[in-house]
């Protein structure tokens, strides 16, 4: 974990409300695992706290993030004039386990970002990517080159119509005799649904990356807590990747 100053030197719109930023750092960022994140700070008195973002790509003194505009800081990152000074703290958190087996990946919307690097590091049988609508699709081309991909949009404007979780369920049912590891990231209800499917069909492990509001990102503020049947866990330090069983199980 290091704190490095840098500046955003390039920005590219990838889809509706979704853009990539490229940050030039003053120092080398170093190694990271898939699922690791950074805290991105902007020098703005209105938004004093840094924000967590998954690492899309990092090499030498360059780090790239893919961001969806949802509020104040993400809105400023979309509009700011470049170069724009920022700070990067990371790599933070744990990462997806790099295991063998029948690996499936499933993402909802922006949740595709922390999973992207995984296709380069483990053997992936199929990548299920769901989006709300055609305009919000991004990154899938790159994945297409490496892994089989199954795409759906809620409104059917591109790929299969419907929820990606349903297609994953079909796949699992068709392959009932085989055991899978699932790697996931998406909104909370999406992960809950996955957990229900996995339980019903007896999937041995589902690893998912969670999102919460954070202040520090490295375990000192106790602000990112989520409640589990086994007690509170810190998303920034115990996660962001959890075995769904540890979050939703009894």
């Amino acid at each position: 974990m290091k704190r490095i100053n840098g500046k955003i030197i390039a920005r590219k719109i990838l889809a509706k409300d979704i853009f990539l930023i490229s940050i030039e750092l003053e120092e080398e960022f170093g190694n990271f695992g898939p699922g690791n994140f950074i805290m991105l700070g902007i020098n703005d008195f209105e938004n004093i706290l840094p924000r967590p973002f998954s690492i899309y790509h990092a090499e030498n003194k360059n780090i790239r993030l893919i961001i969806k505009t949802v509020g104040s800081v993400t809105g400023k990152l979309l509009k700011c004039s470049l170069p724009y000074e920022v700070s990067v703290l990371g790599p933070l958190g744990n990462s997806f386990p790099l295991i063998k087996g029948n690996n499936l990946i499933i993402s909802g919307g922006i949740g595709i970002v922390p999973l992207f690097d995984l296709v380069n590091r483990i053997n992936v049988e199929c990548f299920f990517a769901g989006f709300r609508t055609k305009e919000e699709i991004f990154l899938v081309e790159n994945i297409n080159k490496i892994s089989k991909i199954y795409l759906s949009t809620d409104d059917g404007s591109f790929g299969h119509k419907g929820f990606i979780t349903d297609y994953l369920e079909d796949y699992l049912i068709k392959n009932r005799d085989r055991d899978f590891n699932i790697f996931a990231c998406g909104p909370h209800p999406f992960l809950k649904k996955l957990w229900d499917i996995g339980k019903r069909l007896g999937v041995s492990s589902i690893f998912a990356s969670f999102e919460t509001y954070m202040a520090c990102g490295f375990g000192v503020c106790l602000g990112c807590t989520v409640e589990t049947p086994k007690g509170f866990v810190k998303v920034c330090k115990d996660g962001p990747v959890f075995n769904l069983n540890d979050i939703f199980g009894e």
């Binding site: 974990m1 290091k2 704190r3 700070g41 008195f45 209105e46 938004n47 004093i48 706290l49 840094p50 700070s87 703290l89 919460t212 509001y213 954070m214 202040a215 520090c216 990102g217 490295f218 375990g219 000192v220 503020c221 106790l222 602000g223 990112c224 807590t225 989520v226 409640e227 007690g231 509170f232």
Partner: protein
């Protein structure tokens, strides 16, 4: 430059230390600088038994600050003793912030803490509700403060700092009461009770509805509280609230704070405490003034 400051019965190597609850148990920050260079390390508030804290969401950002309602989650004094071992070799003072849910619990924690060799200072957080007396906050009631501090004073020999809540009509009354009861220094002040609402869901952003506000937005409020306390008591006052850079730290020193605590700014920049030490050195040499001349140098004529 000599940055050491005397706080009555303890001398710190410089006036900069973290505020409780924003620095973990210390070691988490070892990656950002040499902990031994800090004026002191102040640990997360400790209670007799481990405390789970409040339900999430526990934090939210507001303009210029944040609100937290962690609910004093902590590992409890026994686990804390384990954590202390890892701080054995540090060459800086260790200040232990603590609290209790009842009068008796405060006393027990104080006694136990003061028996730990590595604990240099006890900092008592009185911004807690007195569970036995209808949940009134200890820190807003002069009688309760007087009894509480008086009793803690009896059972410990180490320096006792009292951390005041600013959510009172007249903080000087509380300050004077704490001084009379035996406090060695005052930390002024804790967070300001506040609230924020998410327009979209029409819910409070914090599960507990309200919490304590900290960060640069509250600095002018804490600065005034420090100014008033410095004028009212003769024990040292340690400033706390909204410090994010050398100029805000200097404001506190100029109005008479003998040292300062930095809270929320540790989340903005985990290297802030080390930066402040460098910046103070730079400032004092540029201005050709000693730290002792600077402290309390406010001109009001």
């Amino acid at each position: 430059m000599d940055l050491s400051v005397n706080l009555g019965n303890i001398t710190l190597k410089n006036p900069f230390m973290p505020a409780s609850g924003t620095f973990g148990y210390g070691l988490e920050f070892a990656e950002f600088g040499d902990l031994s260079q800090l004026g002191a390390i102040v640990t997360k508030g400790i209670s007799l038994n481990p405390k789970k804290g409040n339900k999430p969401p526990r934090i939210c950002e507001v303009k210029g600050g944040m609100i937290n309602s962690i609910g004093l989650e902590n590992v409890g004094i026994d686990n804390f003793q384990e954590k202390l071992k890892k701080l054995e070799d540090l060459n800086t003072s260790i200040v232990c912030n603590f609290f209790g849910n009842t009068f008796d619990e405060y006393i027990s924690v104080a006694e136990k803490l003061s028996s730990f060799r590595r604990v240099d200072v006890l900092e008592v957080n009185i911004s807690c509700p007195n569970v036995k007396e209808g949940g009134i906050c200890f820190g807003t009631d002069e009688r309760m403060i007087s009894e509480l501090i008086g009793e803690i004073r009896k059972v410990i020999k180490k320096p006792l700092w009292v951390k005041l809540t600013p959510n009172v009509s007249d903080i000087t009354k509380i300050a004077i009461t704490a001084e009379k009861a035996g406090a060695d220094a005052l930390v002024v002040a804790n967070t300001y009770t506040a609230m924020s609402v998410d327009i979209a869901s029409r819910r409070p952003k914090i599960k507990n509805i309200y919490g304590g506000m900290s960060g640069p937005a509250i600095k002018p409020l804490s600065l005034y509280n420090v100014f008033r306390c410095v004028k009212s008591v003769s024990i040292p006052v340690i400033g706390c609230g909204g410090i994010t850079d050398i100029s805000s730290a200097l404001e506190f020193l100029i109005v008479g704070a003998r040292a300062v605590q930095v809270g929320t700014a540790n989340f903005i920049n985990p290297k802030i405490l080390w930066n402040l030490i460098d910046d103070l050195n730079g400032y004092l040499s540029r201005e050709k003034i000693s730290l002792m001349e600077l402290i309390g140098s406010l001109i009001t004529e």
